[in-house]
Every structure is written in C-alpha cells, then in structure tokens.
Symmetry: C2
Subunit: 389 residues, 2 copies
Amino acid sequence: MGTAPRTKFARRPAPHPLFAARWRLCYRLRFPSGRAIDMSDTSKARTTVTVADVAALAGVHPSTVSRALNEGTQRVSAELVERVFAASKELGYRPNGIARALRMERSLSVGMIIPDISNPIYAPIVRGVEDVLRNAGRSVFVASTDNDLAREADSLTVMLDRKVDGILLATATRDYPHVERLQRANTPVVLINRATSTPWAPLVKVDDHKGVSLAVEHLQALGHTQIAHLAGTATVSSGYDRRHAFVRSMQEAGLPVDPTLIVSADIFGSPVGLKLGNLQARELLSRCVTFTAVIAANDLLAVGCYDVFAEAGIRVPEDVSIVGYHDMPLVNRLSPPLTTVRSPQYQLGAQAGTTILQEIASRSHEGTVLSLAPRLIVRGSTAAPRSEL
Amino acid sequence: MGTAPRTKFARRPAPHPLFAARWRLCYRLRFPSGRAIDMSDTSKARTTVTVADVAALAGVHPSTVSRALNEGTQRVSAELVERVFAASKELGYRPNGIARALRMERSLSVGMIIPDISNPIYAPIVRGVEDVLRNAGRSVFVASTDNDLAREADSLTVMLDRKVDGILLATATRDYPHVERLQRANTPVVLINRATSTPWAPLVKVDDHKGVSLAVEHLQALGHTQIAHLAGTATVSSGYDRRHAFVRSMQEAGLPVDPTLIVSADIFGSPVGLKLGNLQARELLSRCVTFTAVIAANDLLAVGCYDVFAEAGIRVPEDVSIVGYHDMPLVNRLSPPLTTVRSPQYQLGAQAGTTILQEIASRSHEGTVLSLAPRLIVRGSTAAPRSEL
DNA sequence: GTGAAAGCGCTAACAA
DNA sequence: TTGTTAGCGCTTTCAC
C-alpha cells in the first residue's frame, strides 16, 4: 500500500521498459474478458475510460483500438474491429477531445468574433454558423467585443491560445489592426459582412450595392427624387459601402446627389442603434434641406427617425418615406410597418461556416468575396411623396 | 541529413536517457543568448514556440518556465522569473491551451445549451454568460437545439467530449431525460430559467410568481376582473410555473379563476411564438367566454393576440388589455406599445455565469434556486376595461 | 494486420 | 529554489 499512487499523476509502480508490454496487459485483470466492469473500485479510475481500457477489454493494443475506431476495417481485421467496438460500447468509451486535439493538432472548434450576440442583427448569423459547423462535427466559441479593439485583441488571443481551427470575424474594420497578427498565426479566417480595405481572407457579405439600389429604385418608382441617407460609420466597410452604394445608385437612377442629404454616423461619437438614429435624424432636419425619403443604413436608425419625425410633426409615409436595412424582428409591426432591405443573416452565417470549413480543409480562397443578394420588403413606411399628389 | 526527422512526430535522433539533459541544452544552440531567433530554419519549427524554447533561451528547465509563468516569484527566484518572462516575451510565447487542458484536466471552457441563439429572448442571456466568463478567463461554446431532444443529446455529447468545465443548460424540461447522464458525467451544471421537477443542480431563474402577480395586480387596479391567460407549454417549468402563478395570483387578488380563460399552448402541436399566439387567441375567442384582459406567457404570444384581435375588430386596449412577458426589443414600438413584464435576461445570464464558476470551484449548491425579480413595464396595451367607463 | 514506442505541450510530484 | 521525470489520452510512425 505504501507504493500506491497518491494522485493521478504519481509514478506508476513498475514502469520498467522491459515490462511495458506486461504492464499494459495488467489491464485485463481489471476487466476479465466478457464480464462487466468491476465497480468495486470507487476511485476516480472508473470515471474515465481510455483507449487503454478498451484495448485491455478487447485484448488488443491501444493503437489498434485507435485504428479500429477511426479507420474502421481499413487497416484492422474485421474481427478485431468488431471486438474493439463491442468493448468500447461496453465500457461507454468516449474519446477525449482534448487529447485528440493535442495529438492531431486540430481542435475541431472554431472561434466566432462578433460585435454583440444580443443584437438581433447578429444572432441569426451565429445560428447559421452554428448549424453548419455542428453538422461538420465542430463547435463554436462565441465572443462579443462591442467593437472594442482591446477586447477584440483579447478574444483573438484566447481563440488562438485555444487552437481553434479557424476564426470567423464579423468585427473587422476597414483598417483592421489585427490582420498581420492573424496572418502570422496562420489560422484560417473568414470575414463576415465587414471587409478590410486590402483583401487577405475570404469574405462573405451581403451585396450592399444591390440592397441600396433596390431601395433607391423603389423610392424612385414612387416618385421620390430628393432622397436622404443616414449612413453607418465609415470605419467599417458595411457603412462605407452602403454609403457609396447610395451615391452610385442615385447616379445610376439619374437622381441628384446632394451631400447635405447624407448624414454620417461618424460625426457623433459612440452612440449606436436607435439613439444614433435620433441624432442623425435631428441633424438631417437641422440642415434645412428638403427631402421626401430617407434610406437608413440599418433598421434601428430608421426607428430612430420614426421618433424624431413624430415629434417634429412629420408623418410617415405621408410626408416622408423611410426605408430600413436588415428586416429585424418586429419592424413589420411598427406603425407604419417598415419598408426595409432584408439581408439574409442566417444564410450569411451558414455560408461563412461553409467557407471556413473549406479554408480549414485547404487554404486557398484568399481574396474570395461571396455576395449574398438582399431583397426589398415593401411595407407601409414608403409611399408616393406629397408633392406628387 | 539522413537522420533528420521527416515529420513532426518522427523519432528524435538521440533520445538516450543518459543524454536527456544535454539534449535539452542543445536548444541553447538554436537561440544564442541575447540574440534574436535564428530564422533560417524555415520549417514549421519556427511557428510554434513551446516552453522548451523559452527554457532554452532563458537557460533554465522547462518546468521552471512553467512555474515562473504560472506562479510568478512564488517558488522561483526573482531573477529567473525575470529571465523567463523576458525570454517568453522575446519569443512571443503563448501557452498551448489544449496541452494545458489535457495536463491540468480543466479546459477553461464552458458549454451553453439554449433553444435558439437567434431568438431575441435568449441572446441577452448568452451575452451575460459570456461577459462574466470572459472576465474569469473562460470561453463559451454555444449550441442551439430548438428543444429537440436528439440534438440536445448530441450537444451534450460534444460538450462532454470536449471536456468543458461546466454546462449551462437553458433547455431543460420538467421531465428532463438527460439528468442522469449529466450526473454521471460529474460535470457541474447550472440550469437557466427552466427547472426540472426534482432539483439536482443550481437554478437561476426569474421569479415568475412575482412577474405574473405584477401583471394581475396591475390589471386589477385598472378594474379588470375577467382575465385570460395564454399559457406556454407545460412541459417546461417556465410555462408551467407561470400558469400556476397566474392561478395563484388571481386567487390572491380575490379574482375568479375560470379554467376556460386559460388557453394552454400544449393543445397545438409544435408552433411557437407569434403563430402560437394566433392559435391561442383564436381558441380563446372561440370559447365564447367574456374577458377584458389577457396575460400572455411571452411577448410573441401577445403580438399574436394583436393580429387576431385586430382582425376580429377587437381594439387594444379599449376592448381588451394585453400584457406580455420579457420586454423584447421593439415591443415598446408596437401600436399600442406593449405593457409587459420585463425579465432581466442579461442579469440572468450573468448570474448563471457566476454560479457555474462557483460550481466549478466547488460543487456545493446542488438544489439552490436563485430568483431574479422582474419588473412591470406599463405601456399602452393596458387600460381600464370598457365596462368601467 | 498488429504491436511497440514515441511524443503533441504542458504541469506536478519528487528529488536534490 | 531548481532540475528530473513522468504522464494527461491520444494517434502515428516504424518494425515485424
């Protein structure tokens, strides 16, 4: 008893190389062939079943267990495979993912970095990612960073330290400071919805030009010519691109582009969502320029307009039409229901999941851009402009 | 050259025990003290910096590196700690989380199982969990199961195989089939919002009796006596509890409890959310029983009522008052804005995170129930009943 | 087709 | 205080 291991990591009694083989065999004593496990041992030993245990019960070498379980009958005789599976099942063996990850140098996990999981815009993306990766046997670490660069750096560190097989990045800025680091880490990355100014990893996005031009064309068809744009922040490509798409779409439609009709988010420090929408809408009104319609860079900005216009006695859609972007839950229930560009968030995530799997399998699509088409959902917040009546 | 290792796992040239010490020392040759790393070796060796590399550069044993990095000056001389940190920094060393997890038998990760991450009700819970766990240096695996028991079983398997340190379970049913398995796995579990009928793990929930009674009292104060309840499914404790809380609150308020005024979700197969609300509202109307107010088990059911009442020509709140549950985003923008019981979803997650950390530190709070208080948010969907005018 | 042995990168027990 | 050694559980190379 004096030599009994005190802890799990205490030295084994007789590890002399010459007896290594025999030492393995002693497992058999613990599991007499064909019999159930001896439960009398109440120590932790019972809790964890390892390949060695299965090997012992099946009367084979651990490496054979591994081969049988992983490659089936490919390099192991059918009979042994049978025995190994039986033993594995009897003992309730489950491979230790950590050990496999260490040995095989792939963790079967993927990290996802997003601005905020509690934002209804991003959550469906995560769900799409999750569904695709689950089917591929991989798990997803999620980290929200609120677009805070320090938190972002931390999250990246954590993910890389955990040896994720790939990183899904939905927080990139156009001028993203962590690009080099990610490249150095040599971990596959897929960007979601936000591109960096120079391409270095595959990007899965929504076709913003398509989305904005759908909105512009819709408004034009209703008779609008003076259309304003509440732009998102230009530091991220989605805001930047939509703004440029707005200008281009207006030009393509032959409509005048008045810079004073574009209110950028960047002139107001940090606020986001609804509050930002309020500020932008007030700014727009204060500019004393006429407009009959507003295209907002996202739904919450549009809702922010609802507030400000209401308190200013401006009716929607009678006086001003409003178009949102994303089609988040319940915007169809606002009064009036919001006309908006529906971006396929779930599909975005699913596609990103597919792409990261490809990247993991073989790094190849460095600058690939995958654009998903949005769709215009026409509801009650848009109508013909007043002057047309 | 003939003896050069072909792969990372090829045998090292001279691992003879007698020379083990010297073999370690040979690392020093690769990193002459005080000089930068020799980059001429373009093989993969450069990519991964290990404790051995740091040890070599610092001129100490790997275990000393480990001690210095993990325990600081506690068991290592200040001078060596300094040297180790310097070497570590110079090489850009980062501990391999997988290896640590295997060795230390804790992965610093936690699994979270929820019905659906894309549901705005659950997303904030995840965020709360995430924030607390990040601060504790842990990462979160997220899995959505859509309340599908098979998917649930899979997710549990995956989490356990990955050796998560704990599991946050937001999908439990009252009669949860995986309890035994989780107990056997001996992994800490914290239940979120949904209890099992017999307690076995700590539970963090919203005080449903409080929430529902706030609603009942509010309606009673407005003069309502005939109050209906659209109940969630009774298979999960939140639905079950809220229904019972409704009955009890009505009794406590001295109001009559008419069973025909309670429409259970369970009589309609699988639909959820808004569609379920539609069905329940129609069922309620078809029962031809008078009521002046409805308390819905969640906001989407309430929104489902809006539809049905509108098409039936019943005005809210003039003819019927409606109270929701949760206060999800934008319900304050419905017309009329929804009066609802605000459940602190983020705090729920944060508290669950705190609790799982405690559980991981020391399993002790087996049957503990932590109830967070909800708050009634009064808006436009409730008013005095018609007959009172 | 199977066994032997090594080792992924790390930390903990032990020895000095 | 530091070095030595072993081993977490697995897969893989090599030898037969």
